[in-house]
Amino acid sequence: MTCQEMANRLPDWTSGSLTDAESALVAEHLDVCEDCSAQASVLGALFVARPEAPAGLAERIARAARVQAHAVPRAGVKHAWHRPAWALPAAAVFLLAVGTTILFRDPQMIEMASALGDGPLEESPIWVTDDGAVAGAPVLDDLSDEALTALVDELGS
């Protein structure tokens, strides 16, 4: 066995994880190689000096793990989908915009609106105000979820 091979095997020899046959080969080399023997001494000192976990750490972790296991849903259980707070108002605005567009593309409705107004109404895909809001759109901010649901249902029917 070469010194290079020894350097790779010494940690496992130190920790006692080599087979008996491998250990015998290492021991044979150590008997005749001063350099590898010195390295083995250093590794032995390191292994002996390695700190163990303080008493009570395992219990402390196990206790916390049990608490965590009860607090966290089991693996594989899918979380219920939570609708973000903005979803319903956004859907209402979208449907209102689409509904308004459909409504005012109807030639009969345009004619009726023109008759009520000062002149002919331009056939526009959507009415918008200067700030880009849909003309005539209700203020949705203060509506409850139930009211918005009713509005969406009404627009959808």
């Binding site: 940690p11 390295q39 000192a45 000096a49 976990a53 972790i61 196990a62 793990a65 049990r66 296991a69």
Partner: protein
């Protein structure tokens, strides 16, 4: 010389893991008992105090147990766990450093205490000398010698390639030999 908690860990991990993933509380306890010392040592190799190392070991192990379902077995459970613990310890180190507003680099972390503490025992002397190594060299030596990980696994934990890990290990051992001769 036999390991306390490393030797047959890999072979027993598989059955234990399966039980733990099924939610068997005894299996969780066994996993913790089997790997707590390794987790503690890795954390201690990054942090410079036992109390912090205990906290990081605990937080890392809890994080690993919480994500047990996500463990795919690409690496050994031991390596996967130690990567998580090392990350936890590094995060803690960064938080501590920010709090102190004085970054703790490798060289500073490796200084021996300045309060004149006399290190009387050989074990304490070895630990103190080990603590002087830069972090990657120190962890490469610790993980290879104390935990029995191979160089690829050590590289996974310290965030280096297998080749760089070998270099760090051999540099570390050479320096330790010099310092321990003094």
């Amino acid at each position: 010389m036999k390991r306390n908690d490393t030797g047959d860990a890999a072979s027993s991990d598989s059955a234990l893991l399966h039980r733990a993933q099924e939610g068997d509380p005894e299996a969780l306890d066994e996993l913790v008992a089997l790997h707590q010392s390794s987790a503690f040592r890795v954390a201690l190799g990054i942090l410079d105090g036992e109390a912090d190392a205990q906290d990081a070991a605990q937080d890392g192990m809890l994080r690993a147990l919480k994500g047990l379902a996500g463990f795919r077995g690409d690496a050994s459970f031991r390596t996967w766990l130690l990567v998580i613990v090392a990350n936890e310890a590094r995060s803690m180190l960064r938080r501590r450093a920010r709090r102190r507003e004085a970054p703790l680099d490798d060289e500073l972390a490796g200084e021996l205490p300045e309060d004149g503490v006399v290190l009387r025992t050989e074990v304490a002397r070895v630990r103190a000398v080990l603590a002087r190594l830069p972090e990657k060299q120190r962890l490469a030596v610790q993980l290879r010698v104390d935990e029995g990980l191979n160089f690829r696994e050590v590289g996974d934990v310290i965030g280096s390639s297998e080749g760089a890990t070998r270099v760090n290990y051999h540099h570390g051992i050479r320096r330790l030999r010099e310092w321990l001769k003094e």
